[in-house]
């Protein structure tokens, strides 16, 4: 099974651990994690070539999660990286802001369980895994016929 490289962005270390542990419990994929303490830290560490998916808190010091998503999308080279908000913000206006204006792909409200995460991420992770396996299969067949 391919490994999903996930960036976990939250100013709370406890919450970052909870997100990582819950993702492992979903058994949707094998995960490799990078952590960031706020949006600014995430932006400095983020490389769309080395990250498959981002889990982003909203309310953080220095730079909010929404600002991070907006700036990452504005760079133009990260549109293939799913951005999943993981946040306590749950008004309709906030969800709309994240998904419609900022360019987030999905939204998970805190608190969450493995079942909730699995439900929200099932298709997203499946697509990611398929996209990672496709180049490998193409290489295999190319090798067969070369």
């Amino acid at each position: 099974m391919s490994t999903i490289r996930a960036m976990i962005i939250d100013d709370s270390r406890v919450m970052r651990n909870m997100v990582m542990n819950t993702l492992k419990h979903t058994r949707l994929a094998a995960f490799e994690f990078t952590e960031a303490e706020d949006g600014a830290d995430a932006l400095a560490k983020f490389n769309p070539e080395n990250v498959d998916i981002c889990f982003v808190d909203w309310n953080m010091p220095n730079m909010t999660g929404i600002e991070f998503v907006q700036k990452a999308r504005a760079a133009g080279n990260a549109n293939h990286v799913p951005m999943v908000m993981v946040t306590s913000e749950q008004t309709v206006a906030k969800i709309d802001q994240a998904l419609t204006e900022a360019g987030a792909d999905s939204y998970i409200c805190k608190p969450f369980t493995p079942d909730i995460m699995r439900l929200k991420l099932d298709r997203l992770i499946e697509k990611l895994l398929l996209s990672k396996e496709a180049p490998q299969k193409a290489g295999f067949f190319k090798g067969l016929f070369s």
Binding site: S12, V14, M15, M60, P61, E67, S88, Q90, K110
Partner: protein
């Protein structure tokens, strides 16, 4: 931590907000703890123990703030229920966990207030741990307290209206 709060001589804290806070706290505590709502009263609750206070402000009209005040044992119980593992009272992570608890509550509070037509933006949490810490409320500020208890321990929510534009709490992104 003796929690000595001067009672507000004038002004009534908005009932719709205290009702929403009670509802949000009850929903959260019902998920994984035995804490249940006991009573609402004017500020003046005192304890003599160590504890943790986790506070969040709400920018909007009205502007206000809540402080979730936990005894040491209550802090350990609630942080364990939230994080899924026990965190000792001396561990810095307990403040982190309870800041997140306040954050989760604030998100639900904002959503419930939004349903009542009250728009709010929450601050980042401020967490204080210690003993002999007092939350001082200026005279003339509307305030109220909600008491939750399990079999042995207590948790208070002190709700305070803001005076004008003065309010504590760091805005997200700053």
């Amino acid at each position: 931590m003796p929690t000595s709060i001067a009672p507000s001589p004038t002004g009534t804290f908005p009932a719709v907000i205290s009702s929403v806070v009670q509802s949000a706290a009850s929903d959260f505590f019902n998920l994984a703890s035995q804490f249940r709502f006991v009573s609402q009263k004017s500020c003046g609750l005192e304890t003599e123990c160590g504890g943790i206070m986790s506070a969040i402000s709400f920018f909007g009209e009205p502007a206000w703030a809540f402080a979730m005040i936990l005894t040491e044992k209550a802090a350990i119980t609630i942080s364990k229920a939230f994080a899924g593992y026990e965190i000792s009272f001396e561990d810095p992570d307990i403040g982190d966990a309870l800041g997140e608890v306040a954050n989760v509550l604030a998100g639900d509070i904002c959503a419930k207030l939004d349903a009542e037509g009250i728009k709010s933006v929450m601050s980042l949490p401020t967490v204080v741990r210690g003993s002999n810490v007092s939350l001082l409320i200026p005279v003339g500020i509307a305030s109220t307290q909600l008491l939750f208890m399990d079999e042995t321990e207590s948790c208070w929510f002190t709700l305070v209206a803001a005076r004008g534009s003065s309010i504590m709490g760091r805005r997200p992104g700053m």
